[in-house]
């Protein structure tokens, strides 16, 4: 390959990877808050999928991208509240609720999709315009990939900065971390543990719903049942691998987003790998990354455990 072809390949790969990374990034950022606060949300997969369906349905009905994103976000918020109610107020097993929410989401979105559209697979026709950042998008190789993207991609990057600031430099961030590390101490210091955890899981739900809506409305322009194929679970792993730090989570999401979009990139350079093996890569990648990086990862001490005031 010539140098020019390599440039095109890298630009295309990075550009596609950045788009594919958005749902993973948003879901993993949301999960960062939830896990930091002591909640392991296995319902993330279901929240992504529900956000994708609600977003697709609203966008197709109203022909408005904003309506789609709003519908996805609202659905995520509602599921986050459901998870919060069961895990925080009723203090029942988080793994069971998470799997339950994911199963309900798979069943209900598949049901509604078949019920509304039968055997048809409608697509969204409005174009998701890219916005080029002046001057920066003219930079060689990286410019067109990084700075000629949909507005929502830029928003996702802003959210990384926002989440990092929120977690590290605000009272709320400290309360979240305290609620996950030592709810007892947090409570003694006057932190409302239940309220903090509710806020954290609401952030988790909103981000997952938005990420799902971006997947169907912003990226692919269609919905098929089960279309998230485990991205919610990958996002949980990315949050863990990134040690719950937004900037690391960003790079994790970018890595796995690129792996997800690799099949197109490999076709450009003419490498004919069986598609099944390319599709396998993100999942094998997560396992390998866990082996390399997460051996000594310290989980938040109270992750997965309910907090009961009267049991002090």
């Amino acid at each position: 390959m010539t140098a020019a072809q390599w440039q095109i390949f890298i630009t295309a790969l990075l550009s596609a990877g950045l788009i594919a990374a958005v749902p993973l990034l948003l879901a993993a950022l949301g999960e960062t808050f939830a896990e930091r606060a002591g909640l392991l949300n296995l319902g993330l997969e279901g929240m992504l999928l529900s956000g994708a369906f609600a977003g697709f349905y609203a966008a197709l009905t109203t022909q408005s991208m904003v309506a789609g994103l709003a519908a996805g976000t609202t659905t995520g918020l509602l599921l986050g509240l459901l998870f919060g109610f069961l895990a925080i107020s009723l203090r029942v097993d988080q793994v069971i609720i998470g799997l339950g929410i994911t199963l309900v989401a798979e069943g209900s979105t598949g049901f509604l999709f078949r019920d509304f559209y039968g055997q048809r697979f409608p697509t969204l026709t409005f174009s998701t315009a890219k916005v080029a950042v002046p001057w920066l998008s003219d930079l060689p190789i990286l410019g067109p990939a990084l700075f000629n993207q949909q507005p929502l991609v830029y928003l996702a990057w802003l959210l990384v900065v926002g989440c990092a600031f929120l977690l590290k430099h605000t009272r709320f961030g400290l309360e979240v971390r305290a609620a996950g590390e030592s709810p007892l101490a947090a409570d003694a210091a006057g932190v409302n543990v239940a309220q903090t955890r509710y806020l954290a899981i609401m952030i988790g739900g909103v981000m997952a719903g938005l990420g799902g809506a971006f997947l169907s409305v912003g990226d692919l322009n269609f919905f098929v049942p089960g279309m998230t194929v485990g991205q919610g679970f990958i996002a949980i792993a990315i949050a863990m691998l990134g040690k719950w730090q937004p900037y690391r989570v960003f790079f994790g999401a970018l890595l796995f987003g690129t792996l997800r979009s690799l099949s197109t990139g490999l076709q450009i350079i003419g490498l004919d790998l069986r598609p099944e093996f390319v599709l396998m890569l993100p999942y094998i990648g997560i396992i390998v990354a866990l082996i390399i990086l997460a051996r000594r990862t310290q989980l938040p001490a109270a992750l997965g455990l309910p907090y009961e005031r009267d049991q002090r």
Binding site: L42, L86, T102, V104, S108, A237, Y283, I286
Partner: protein, 348 residues
Amino acid sequence: MPELARLRPFVPVLSSILAVAAAFLSGALFLWLTGKDPGQAYAILLSRGLGSTLGITETLIKMAPLLLVSAGLLIALKASVWNIGIDGQFLIGASLAGILAPRLAGGVPLAGVLLLCAGAAFIGGAVWGVVPAALKVRYGLNEIITTIMMNYVAIYLTSWLVKGPFSDPSVVAPQMPTIPPEFRLPFLPFTRIHIGLLVGLVAVLLTYLMFRYGATGLALTILGHSRKAALHAGLPVNRLVALALLLSAGMAGLAGANDVLGVKGLFQGEWNPMYGLTAFALVFLARLNGLLVIPFAYFFAFLLFGGEAMARTARIPAYFVPLLEGLMLLFFAISTYLERRYRRGLEP
């Protein structure tokens, strides 16, 4: 509160039944909201599933894989090992049976074909559990994420196997060669139900006996309650974790062989019955009790068959069944909360 106290032994079963009822009520609400007639839908479910010989036969056939995966999941959950990789382990076992059976048929007698396939499927499923088990034992990596990741690897691997090296070249659809009918699982006398049901029942009963009377069962139960207690008691914790995960994975593989050798007669591409989360709902509702798994397996098989009937005759998408199962998991969780309240109510 003497009346309340007398209820105590029945509380677990009662709360499971309440959870199922609540799930059906919410399901009815969902149907009503989407403009369907819940009464008609549930009537079809009941009449097709219980009102005909065909329904009962089909339900008993569908029960076999559920019994096998549930027996395995029961072992894992008793030891607090979260094997969410059943779907992948099932597909590996199923594909191995689909590869081996057509090639062995004719060269080896029926019993040999069946035993070799079952053995390969069990080992294949267990091998699919080796990576998560090793990572948990060696590095303390949580098995939830790793078993889920292995599911997707299995989906794409078997999809390649069925399209690539082991595809049946005589048909367009991606599938492996068909197993000759005389080399499939034989029927139980006087029925159209294959012997997989018997294998499933034996697996569940052996699991029950292992936990009721066996030392290994007790060791797994102690580990499940408290890892610390197991360590203090000098139990080989790592070996027990691996045993629970591998047994559970092997049973899922065996269930895959059951469906290929008994029901489908071949391994088809894009086929994934996703028994994994179904088994979670089933085993939790059965309160991790081996004997209760049997009636609940019948009930879930009845749902699977009835769901297909509803999809055919009442235009209710078959996705209604996973929706119901998910609701059952959520209401089961709520019922554990109510139970806790009830037990506290009994305390002085």
